[in-house]
């Protein structure tokens, strides 16, 4: 038993360097990017499932294993994964994927973030002063990120450079072909109530106002007083209540009932292993949700 374990360890250590790149994506949306750009020519591992809040995870040994073996880490960034990714990286003993090295790719660092430059003051909740990290809710930005990712993958694996560029271009084309439809669908939507500041990229893209948040402050569960304040303020207006599968339903239920608005609960990120098409379908659902408040 001991011998075979040792043999396995030695075998694993001598795997030739020409093997497919090991890419670790922190969330399933980042997985979509990797899959769209690189297809099956890389080995993909996703650290966080879509039914968990990526703010609130804890570092697990399995994350350290994945990062230990990674050639490239693709994270959302802007401190979304700050509660666990630094610890998982710290325990992975792999200097090749630390921030600042070619093996580290942060989506938020490739594009311009919205809501940046706000005060770093936690009395305002669990704030992100660097900007809103939920960039995966913005398909055009995702297309920009995909292009940057193609460049990075090409720098690590020049042989497949053309393939990566083509993957990113196809992703952009797919996004662009859907964009007018989304805008049309959402035009005239009066606004949305979100649970958390996690769908703001999409509402900005669709030009639909965010009328309020079910959470009184980021990271604080809804209170009765806050829900009443929202109801009083929005009574008589039109809109929709949107929230994710891991956010509690009581607050949205109450608001939907008292305002007479539709409520839409969806996973914030697509399923693990989703393709570009599945990601865009997932965005379709969110667009329908945003558009339902007419």
């Amino acid at each position: 038993m001991k011998k075979s374990l040792l043999a396995a360890a030695l075998l694993a250590a001598t795997v030739p360097a020409t093997a497919a790149l090991n890419v670790v994506a922190t969330t399933s949306s980042m997985g979509v990017l990797v899959k769209s750009v690189a297809g099956d020519s890389v080995k993909l591992t996703i650290l966080a499932p879509p039914d968990r809040d990526a703010h609130m995870l804890q570092a697990r040994p399995s994350m350290m294993v994945a990062l230990r073996n990674a050639d490239l880490l693709v994270s959302v960034g802007a401190e979304l994964e700050i509660g666990w990714l630094p610890a998982a990286l710290g325990g992975a003993n792999n200097g090749r994927v630390l921030p600042g090295t070619p093996g580290y790719f942060e989506a938020a660092a490739q594009i311009e973030l919205i809501e940046s430059g706000r005060a770093a003051d936690r009395s305002q909740g669990d704030v992100h002063p660097m900007g809103n990290p939920h960039v995966y809710m913005d398909p055009p930005r995702m297309a920009d990120i995909a292009e940057a990712l193609a460049g990075r993958l090409a720098s690590l694996d020049a042989a497949n450079a053309a393939k990566y560029q083509a993957g990113a271009a196809a992703f952009r084309k797919a996004v662009e072909s859907r964009l007018p439809g989304w805008k049309q669908k959402a035009s005239g939507a009066k606004g949305v109530l979100l649970f958390h500041k996690d769908v703001n990229y999409l509402t900005t893209l669709l030009d639909v106002p965010v009328l309020g948040y079910v959470e009184p402050l980021p990271g604080i569960p809804p209170t009765a007083a806050h829900l009443k304040e929202l109801t009083d303020r929005l009574k008589g207006q039109k809109g929709a209540v949107l929230y994710t599968s891991y956010q509690p339903g009581q607050g949205p239920d109450f608001l939907s009932r008292s305002l007479g608005w539709p409520k839409v609960r969806l996973p914030l990120e697509p399923a693990v292993g989703a393709s570009a098409e599945e990601y865009l379908k997932h965005i379709d659902q969110w667009v329908d949700g945003v558009a339902s408040g007419k």
Binding site: Q58, R60, S62, N93, R122
Partner: protein, 519 residues
């Protein structure tokens, strides 16, 4: 009369020179033009929207078919126009967003600031290189039913009481006064030194002063899955050992650690090498070379002489041993259990080539016992965590257990006899998220399942001490924590069972940028 004029002229020129860059730094012309264009387009769009609304309303009212068709046509035309306006706006906004937000230099116009005497400024990153700093105050209101002596009772537990500290630590994690307590405030700094090293420093500040609890460097990019850590740190043995008080699920340290290693666990100066081989599951192996200053298993006093108690009155001398004196090894394994669950199993071993004790209970400087020998410890640990998909920690579950066994093999200096102590301890604890932000915790810990002394061939056995704990923790956010805890202890002191009850109300707060916690 010419010179005053010249001076005035120069002053005016200077004033212009000074004022000019400021004026030029105002909003540049083309940006202003763009902004005006946006405003105009926006106004236009608003207007068309209004027309559109009226038109839409009249489309709804009954009218002759021809008129209706005409209206419909108008409506479509306006809608098309509006779409065009929107596109134009979008294009301008995009253009504006791509320009640097600051002032734009007009071509051919130098707007360099005052060049006459050269800038005395400095290009500096200011304080941007500051490390992440966090401060974690820990405030406890405490009551017990033994006049505040519960901590002392635990320290006097049969079989464990011999190796207590000689006022080594100014602060204690265990002993508290009845009423309000300011426990040590953790002040932590961390940053990358350069491409090769990270540094972490944690100071425990109490009312008496500051103590360097952890100050170590860690390598960033050793190949092959290796990492080296050096300085003063919490040893990698066991599971609870590497946790700071703010990471504990209860107010106090578990009984096994408290009595076998002390409130801080194994917290030593030295060097650690750990390795994660490339495997499909988690395995970390580590070895440590440590100074050996742990009062419970690696106590070092040094080559000191004590006046004799023998008839010949020969002095009793402890041996000299240079550091490092303590060596440890640990192995942790974690199978891959998917996204919801995580499991880690560990085995640890620590061996000290020196452990010295001086027992001078009457304090006359003529100790009753001078002991010199070795210390040894081994342990196993298991942690299981379940991450529930429910919100704010509801449904999350953690089970944690460890067993530690310690042996001290000592010569009774000045006699041909030896004293061998064998003791162990264990704890079992579980924490469950009963409601969002609210956790219920239970712990059962014991010390001295094996609890024996063999002195000069004579074996003495002591009783096992036990403790039961219940805690309710409310986490308003991930940065604050309010905890109520109840302990019931059954500790044997001098063969007598002493029971006590303890109540803690704890507030723990974290400000600043605190690093993520390890598994």
């Amino acid at each position: 009369m010419k010179s005053p004029l010249l001076i005035v002229g120069a002053a005016v020129a200077l004033a212009f020179a000074l004022a000019f860059p400021v004026a030029a730094q105002g909003v540049p012309v083309d940006r202003k033009a763009l902004e005006e264009k946006v405003r105009a387009l926006e106004a236009k769009q608003e207007e068309t929207t209004k027309t559109l609304e009226t038109l839409k309303a009249s489309v709804g009212t009954p009218a002759p078919a021809a008129a209706h068709a005409e209206l419909q046509r108008q409506l479509e035309a306006i809608e098309k126009q509006q779409a065009e306006t929107r596109a134009a706006l979008e294009a301008i906004r995009k253009e504006m967003s791509q320009r640097p937000p600051g002032p734009i230099e007009a071509k051919g116009l130098s707007t360099k600031s005052f060049p006459l005497f050269g800038s005395s400024g400095q290009v500096t990153s200011g304080t941007a290189f500051n490390p992440s700093i966090s401060v974690i105050p820990d405030i406890v209101y405490y009551r017990d039913n033994v006049k505040g002596e519960a901590g002392e009772i635990v320290e006097e537990a049969d079989g464990f009481h011999g190796a207590h500290a000689e006022e080594e630590h100014g602060h204690e994690h265990g002993g508290m006064s009845q009423g309000f307590n300011l426990r040590e405030t953790e002040i932590a700094f961390s940053a990358s030194v350069d491409a090769y090293f990270d540094v972490f420093a944690l100071f425990a500040a109490s009312e008496e002063g500051l103590e360097a609890e952890e100050v170590y460097f860690q390598t960033r990019r050793l190949p092959g899955g290796f990492q080296i850590k050096g300085g003063k740190f919490l040893s990698g043995i066991g599971y609870a050992n590497a946790q700071h008080p703010h990471q504990w699920d209860f107010v106090d340290q578990n009984l096994a650690y408290e009595l076998l290693l002390g409130g801080h666990g194994l917290n030593e100066k030295g060097l650690q090498v750990n390795w994660i081989p490339k495997l499909p599951f988690y395995l970390r192996a580590g070895v440590e070379l440590l100074q050996g200053e742990n009062e419970k298993m690696s106590n070092y006093i040094g080559a000191e002489e004590f006046s004799g108690r023998t008839e010949a009155d020969e002095p009793r001398e402890l041996s000299y041993q240079s550091g490092p004196r303590l060596f440890t090894g640990f192995l942790k394994v974690g199978p891959n259990l998917g996204y919801a669950s995580a499991l880690q199993l560990g085995v640890s071993y620590a061996s000290s080539n020196t452990h010295q004790e001086v027992h001078d209970h009457d304090g006359d400087g003529n100790p009753e016992g001078v002991l010199d020998g070795t210390g040894e410890l081994w342990g196993v640990d298991l942690v299981y965590k379940y991450d529930s998909p429910r919100e704010y920690g509801a449904g999350d579950f953690v089970f944690q257990t460890e067993y530690l066994s310690r042996k001290r093999d000592l010569d009774i200096v000045g006699t041909p006899d030896t004293a061998v102590f064998k003791q162990d301890g264990a704890y079992f604890q579980a924490v469950y998220g009963v409601l969002p932000r609210l956790q219920l915790g239970a712990r059962y810990d014991l010390a001295g399942l094996t609890n024996e002394r063999v002195r000069a061939g004579v074996k003495t056995e002591y009783e096992t001490s036990k403790r039961w704990t219940g805690a309710l923790t409310f986490n308003p956010t991930e940065f604050s924590r309010i905890r109520a805890q109840y302990n019931r202890g059954e500790v044997f002191v001098g063969g007598e069972k002493e029971t006590y009850d303890q109540f803690f109300l704890q507030v723990q707060l974290s400000i600043g940028a605190h690093g993520a916690h390890k598994f």
